[in-house]
């Protein structure tokens, strides 16, 4: 399974690093995680494969999928791959608008609207790609460990507002890789409070 040395520059709370870690774990690839200080100015994640660096979490996950093809994360059909890329892009566009610590938090109804659109993409399927855990699931699931913080600040529960999305989250959490790698949401919540205090957000 080993195809050279793999190092991941990592930060525990970053959902983008979690994407890379889940992808590597799904492929059974051994790697060294080097913890970086979130406020050290360095951008994470960075994947170093035999010393060659790669940035941008979605691109890293794509690269991991191409380099270690089994089990596949992206579907084999070109049209299904396009759908996976579309929803991955959708998630990142929404994150860019609402996700940064200094950005305003989404209003409850905006947040719910985004989840409902993702529920539309899920349809009746277990995972975004169908029966198997795949690319969009890897891209989406790490962001959910920040949901507890959103729920606490917003005074609502995703489970009640978007039960289908909540069911998908639970299915992902049943995977050994995801359960092992995702941090405790309460720990993330405390981290968010610290960030908000640092940036003076009420």
């Amino acid at each position: 399974m080993s195809k050279g040395e793999v190092v991941l520059l990592d930060c525990w709370a970053s959902p983008f690093c979690l994407r890379a870690k889940i992808a590597l774990a799904e492929k059974g690839v051994e790697y060294e995680a080097r913890a970086e200080n979130l406020f050290g100015g360095k951008k994470v994640p960075v994947l170093l494969h035999d010393g060659k660096p790669l940035c941008e979490s979605t691109i890293i996950v794509n690269y991991i999928d191409e380099t270690w093809p089994s089990p596949p994360l992206l579907p084999s059909c070109a049209f299904e791959r396009a759908k996976a890329r579309f929803w991955s892009d959708f998630i990142d566009k929404k994150y860019a608008t609402y996700g940064k610590a200094r950005a305003r938090s989404p209003a409850k109804n905006e947040f719910i609207e985004i989840l409902k659109q993702l529920e539309g993409a899920l349809g009746e399927k277990d995972f975004f790609g169908g029966d198997s855990f795949g690319f969009v699931d890897v891209i989406a699931i790490p962001l959910t460990c920040w949901f507890y913080a959103v729920e606490e600040f917003g005074g609502f529960k995703v489970e009640n507002e978007c039960p289908k999305f909540s069911a998908w989250m639970n299915k992902c959490m049943q995977r050994e890789t995801v359960a092992r790698i995702l941090p405790d949401p309460e720990k993330v919540y405390e981290f968010v409070i610290m960030l908000r205090n640092m940036f003076g957000i009420e």
Binding site: H49, I59, E66, A78, F79, R85, F86, Q117
Partner: protein, 221 residues
Amino acid sequence: MAEVKLHGGWASPFSNKVVWALKLKGIPYEYIEEDLYNKSASLLKYNPVHKMIPVLVHGEKPVCESMVILEYIEEMWPQNPSLMPSDPYDRAQARFWIKFAEDKGVAVWKMFFSTGQVLENAMKAALEMLQTVEKHGLGEKKFFNGDNIGLADLAFGAIAYWLQVLEDVMGVKLFESHKFPSLHEWFENFRKVPVIEENLPNQHEMVIAFKRRRETLVTSA
């Protein structure tokens, strides 16, 4: 081969990137010009999430978002010519620059919709993007994709070509050859690729159309 249709806009950089890819690969398609102020029912059906052009419809199956469409075209019709490298690391690098173009290119489009300080900030961001690409993007290569153009060249080609239009519309100068010699040389080579040369929308016509639109934007601000 199933029918290919493109819902696009003649003056849209996003739509034209898809035209370039289809023409480079010699893929026959039906083009449907969309009025962005009166979108067709088909467009809204095929792209309910963003309601935007371009949308590629292949055998009734819609693909949305220009860079998703370009990757789809490359995967469906991988030869004649190939527009992405074959090595996974090189592909990841190409995708990095494509994403960079998409993310940072926003500053260029934002210029068009802005005035005052917002415009100043957008221009500054656009310059920073050009500086980064000038320094790190090409290396010794003729094109981002090596000896021949690829998807990353289409992504930056759209930005450079439309930036020239916006410079004219706004009366500013950003993409100057003495400041960006490497990018200028790349852009000249890009424009000379026969398929690209034959499929560049008329800049003069775009300046007229965009100036008119900008006037309504600025006066209603």
